[in-house]
């Protein structure tokens, strides 16, 4: 399945990846090639097959809703590129 450059640009935007024109073109070819390979799944009859999302067969693992110790705020903020007043700091979003 051949992807267009516009489709690759759209996916890069969804993934929030800033890519060069060269890389967009490279990915257009590589992803098309990989999707061609993946297309072999179309030959499998899956009409009455339930999807597998996980393999543990565990469901609704619950615990008591009680207060437990958590990491101190300073330890959590220590890795942040930018912080102020005990919060992560980012540029204006709007």
């Amino acid at each position: 399945m051949a992807l267009t450059i516009a489709e690759v640009e759209h996916v890069a935007h969804l993934a929030r990846l800033r890519l060069s024109a060269d890389e967009l073109e490279k990915l257009q070819h590589e992803l098309s090639h990989i999707l061609d390979y993946i297309d072999m799944l179309k030959e499998v009859d899956v009409s009455s097959v339930a999807p597998t999302a996980q393999v543990t067969d565990l469901a609704n693992v619950m615990r008591d809703d009680e207060v437990r110790p958590s990491l101190p705020r300073e330890a959590v903020l220590a890795n942040a590129p930018d912080q102020r007043d005990g919060m992560f700091r980012v540029k204006d979003i709007f």
Partner: protein
């Protein structure tokens, strides 16, 4: 007499208990070995010698006081750099998070510490564990100790190479599609991918959350049994960590394979399987048969779909997991004009080419209009792959197959063709899709390079796998071979 750094964990433990050696002597010997050979192998991203020596002295003090904590007390181990050790940088082999110092231990590491293990450092890996050669580390390539011009496999190539080089007695790796088993095979060591959910993933940096598992590398199945026993079990921090009780894996190693039904899936003897690899695997099966195992031909008919299913599901999960690298809470942020500009610059330049490719593939597969055609269909075929295993395990106790179609390949040989690299995992990734455990034991050499036999078990039946692997190692000496590395001067 073997050098201290060449010992198995079991033998080191015996000598520690007998008072013949101390953990400080053992740890110093391994750190000296790292200093002597790691400039060639490059297994380690960071060496935590201060921490290791502190832990070794504490282990010796416990032992002198008669309080040794368990079978790993004073044993030097290495940790793959996608697994958090409090206070040591976790880079994941990536520039985007190269400065991240985790404020907590992963559960697996916390349990190793409780068991008294000595932590030598963090090992190299493909970026975010995406790769089959460790060439995709953003920092440097790790070299195979058996032939320095070749890859160690991946993505846990640093952990496998560290054990093979005598630069650790054992190590933790992770396996999402073969990342423990393939490097174990290519480096001639033993490696175990436990059942999905057997080991907590808390503190493991997520790649494919329905596939990822932490597991051990060591020289022997017995040593892997020791490490698994220490790290396995339920964890309140990971709701997918299974509640099944953890058996005494070592106590189950009785050397007996009589009556064991071993299935040989014909689909794993694939086109492209090297003759030397097939011969070593067939010889291993013949040896098991000669010692009382029953060898049975079985079929896993959906095997050929595992690779395309995996390359939908794993990138889809990765694209969601890696959305968190936004340069806000941790990592390296690139400056820009606005929040969105910074976000796109940070991610566009922080991730390497293979990670960007997989994020793009996964994002596409999950995007509006394509979800049913790709992601849902892949999950449906995943069900069929899982059923294949269930049907096979109705007939047999374990399965035996090659691990990788090839021995270690030359550095650079497959980096230009993503699909050729993905095919490295064709014999390992079906097991992740189905959630089974897989054990790799060295079973010979092809053209001077190690070959590993892959044993696949029922969910939570690591005990039978380890018993078969240990029995095989009592009959063979492949796991006692060591690469001829010369110390740098």
């Amino acid at each position: 007499m073997a050098e201290l750094y060449e010992l198995t964990i079991t033998e080191a433990r015996r000598r520690l208990d007998a008072g013949d050696i101390t953990s400080v002597q053992l740890t110093e010997a391994v750190l000296e070995r790292i200093a002597a050979v790691d400039s060639q192998v490059r297994a380690y991203l960071a060496i935590s010698d201060d921490l290791a020596m502190r832990q070794a002295r504490a282990a010796d003090a416990r032992r002198r006081a008669g309080n040794a904590t368990g079978p790993l007390d004073g044993i030097p181990l290495a940790i793959k750099d996608v697994i958090n050790v409090q206070g040591l940088t976790t880079t994941c082999g990536s520039k985007i998070i190269e400065n991240f110092v985790p404020p907590y231990d992963s559960t697996a590491v916390a349990r190793l510490k409780d068991a008294g293990a000595v932590l030598l450092g963090k090992t190299n890996c493909d970026e975010f564990a995406m790769g089959s050669s460790t060439e995709r580390s953003a920092f440097f390539v790790t070299h195979n100790p058996w032939d320095l011009e070749r890859v160690p496999g991946g993505s846990s190539g640093g952990s496998a190479a560290a054990v093979a080089a005598g630069a650790a007695l054992g190590a933790l790796g992770t396996d999402t599609g073969g990342s423990i088993r393939q490097p174990a095979s290519l480096c001639g060591v033993t490696g175990l991918k436990p059942t999905y959910g057997r080991v907590s993933r808390y503190g493991l940096v997520a790649f494919g959350s329905s596939l990822d598992q932490i597991g051990p590398f060591a020289w022997t199945a017995q040593d892997c049994a020791l490490i698994l026993g220490a790290i396995a079990g339920a964890d309140p921090h990971d709701s997918t960590a299974a509640p099944q009780p953890v058996p005494d894996y070592v106590a189950g190693l009785n050397g007996d394979v009589r009556g064991l039904r071993v299935g040989v899936p014909k689909e794993y003897f694939v086109e492209g399987l090297e003759a030397g690899v097939e011969a070593a695997v067939r010889d291993a099966l013949e040896l098991l048969r000669a010692n009382g195992a029953e060898i049975v031909d079985v079929s896993l008919p959906h095997t050929k779909y595992a690779l395309p299913v995996y390359y939908i599901i794993a990138p889809a999960e990765a694209s969601a997991n890696l959305a968190r690298y936004d340069g806000v809470r941790y990592g390296v942020k690139q400056a820009g004009d606005s929040y969105w500009d910074e976000l796109e610059r940070t991610r566009g330049s922080g991730f390497g080419a293979e990670v960007r490719r997989r994020i793009m593939l996964g994002t596409y597969a999950l995007s509006a209009g394509y979800y049913d055609a790709y992601y849902k269909r892949a999950q449906q075929v995943r069900t069929l792959i899982r059923r294949d295993f269930e049907q096979a395990f109705a007939q047999v106790d374990i399965l035996a197959a090659p691990t990788s179609p090839t021995v270690a390949f030359k550095i650079g040989e497959k980096t230009d063709d993503p699909l050729a690299m993905y095919l490295e995992d064709v014999c390992t990734l079906p097991i992740n899709l189905a959630g089974m455990p897989g054990l790799v034991v060295p079973c010979g050499f092809s053209a001077g390079l190690p070959v590993g036999l892959q044993l696949i078990g029922r969910p939570f039946d690591e005990g039978t796998l380890l018993r078969a692997g240990d029995a095989y190692q009592r009959l063979t000496d492949w796991h006692t071979r060591r690469p001829a590395l010369t110390a740098s001067t």
